[in-house]
């Protein structure tokens, strides 16, 4: 479904991604793990068009989306939930969701998807008229995900959805990720909480200083000594 080949990305003269290649198949949950500053967020941003690669190709469903503008990529069916939630704080929950469907014209479909989002996140329905900035961290994360779903993506990019969330919320969020996936959305998930990420993922890639150093199916990696040492802590 998504194919990334030999991607090189720079911030000024900082070489953040050094020849990254990966692949995601329809219906999968794929996770990227790696230390702080490894380049995970950079990769997601490049896929969603926020950053332009210096070199390399990104192919989505057979079509090249390399260096396309972010809004065209959204249209193609990729939604990105950025690190740190980034909800529009001075707008209501409802307006945030409407913005998610910014490019869509099918009023009926939008309405249906709205209902679908409310089903997934009943909390949001309760808070429809509340300013997004006043939501708790977990609620904001739900909103960010709901908003991304409003674009009706076939591929959802999630950047550290558990960051700063209480354990209870982390669980809820991960449950929802699985639900979303079951309803037919492919997911690329970036997580620091590697244990948890691997527990719901089909496959995983390990990123270190801008390179993919390891990949494989989730169970394999969970039991890999190297990964345990580096990312999963002592336990």
């Amino acid at each position: 479904m998504l194919k990334v080949e030999d991607l090189n990305v720079y911030y000024g003269n900082i070489h953040a991604l050094k020849g990254v290649s990966l692949e995601i198949n329809e219906g999968e949950i794929v996770t990227l793990i790696g230390a702080n500053g490894a380049g995970k967020s950079t990769l997601l941003k490049t896929i969603s068009g926020l950053l332009k690669p210096k070199q390399g190709k990104i192919i989505f469903e057979g079509k090249s989306i390399t260096a396309k503008a972010a809004q065209t990529i959204v249209k193609q069916g990729i939604s990105h939930v950025p690190e740190g939630r980034r909800v529009f704080a001075n707008m209501t929950v409802e307006e945030n969701l409407q913005l998610g469907a910014y490019l869509r014209k099918d009023k009926k479909g939008i309405k249906q998807d709205m209902e679908m989002v409310y089903d997934l996140f009943p909390r949001l329905l309760e808070r429809l008229k509340q300013q997004a900035g006043t939501l708790s961290g977990g609620e904001q994360q739900m909103l960010a995900m709901g908003r991304a779903l409003m674009a009706k993506p076939r591929l959802l990019l999630l950047d550290e959805p558990s960051m700063g969330l209480a354990p209870l919320l982390v669980k809820t969020i991960f449950r929802i990720i699985e639900e979303i996936n079951v309803t037919g959305t492919t997911v690329l998930l970036v997580e620091q909480n590697a244990n948890l990420a691997l527990s719901i993922a089909d496959r995983a890639y390990v990123v270190e200083t801008g390179r993919i150093v390891l990949s494989g199916n989730a169970e394999e990696l969970t039991s890999s000594e190297k990964v345990k040492m580096a990312y999963l802590g002592g336990n």
């Binding site: 068009g49 809004q71 249209k75 990105h80 998610g100 910014y102 490019l103």
Partner: protein, 292 residues
Amino acid sequence: MEIIQQLVNGISLGSIYALIALGYTMVYGIVKLINFAHGDVFMVGSFVGFYSITFLHLSFFPALILSMVACALFGVLIERIAYKPLRNATRIAALITAIGVSLLIENGMIFFRGAQLEAYPNDILPTNKINLLGVTVESKSLLILGVSVALMIILQFVVHKTKIGKAMRAVSHDAEAAKLMGINVNNTISATFAIGSSLAGAAGVIFGTYYYKIEPLMGVIPGLKAFVAAVLGGIGIIPGAMVGGLLLGVIESLVSAAGGSLWRDGVAFIVLILILIFMPQGIFGKNKREKV
């Protein structure tokens, strides 16, 4: 009676401040840039209106529309050339560029047509005086107030109820996240400048018909006053600009009415500073404490 007359004077003056302030506040609200060139766009608008009335023999409303369109294009041009490359630079760099653009427009205008003033024809609008219990209200004053209020309502509607308005607000809060919604950030910002600048254009033409005299540096003081008005009302807030403008106009009139015309601007700035000290976000601004 005199006091009512003075209020009427103040409201007319204030409506013009408000009209300029609306554009100021709009641009600031979305891109957080103090667009010092806004007053000069107002000046350009005034000249476009003047030329379309004297050379193209247009009447008031067509001239107004023409000037609004011209200013919209001009505003977009300025944004694309001078501000867009600096979108990721520091705020102060953008501010200095805005000052540069302001100087360029003023002096470019002087370069091309000279510094001499021009006077709007006296008969563009019928000057009817309405006498109410000794208070003279010119029909023009009513028109100005009407146009300002109407434009404010339209603007408020556009920003809060339309799709492009939502896009603007989204961009203002987080441009990158807005991109992820499929919003074309560049176009949205251009639209903001187009709308803001067209308001300045409208203000320019109205100013010309009300005060007659126009010249290349005419935008400096009203631009500054309008900015003050926008800050008074809470910068970025559309009704705030309106209220701030009217308030400033009325304050100035009352100070002059009390015989303090030489202190008029001084009092305006003192009010500004006092309001900022006691309501740091302006009258309508929400007091946002920085969340730590």
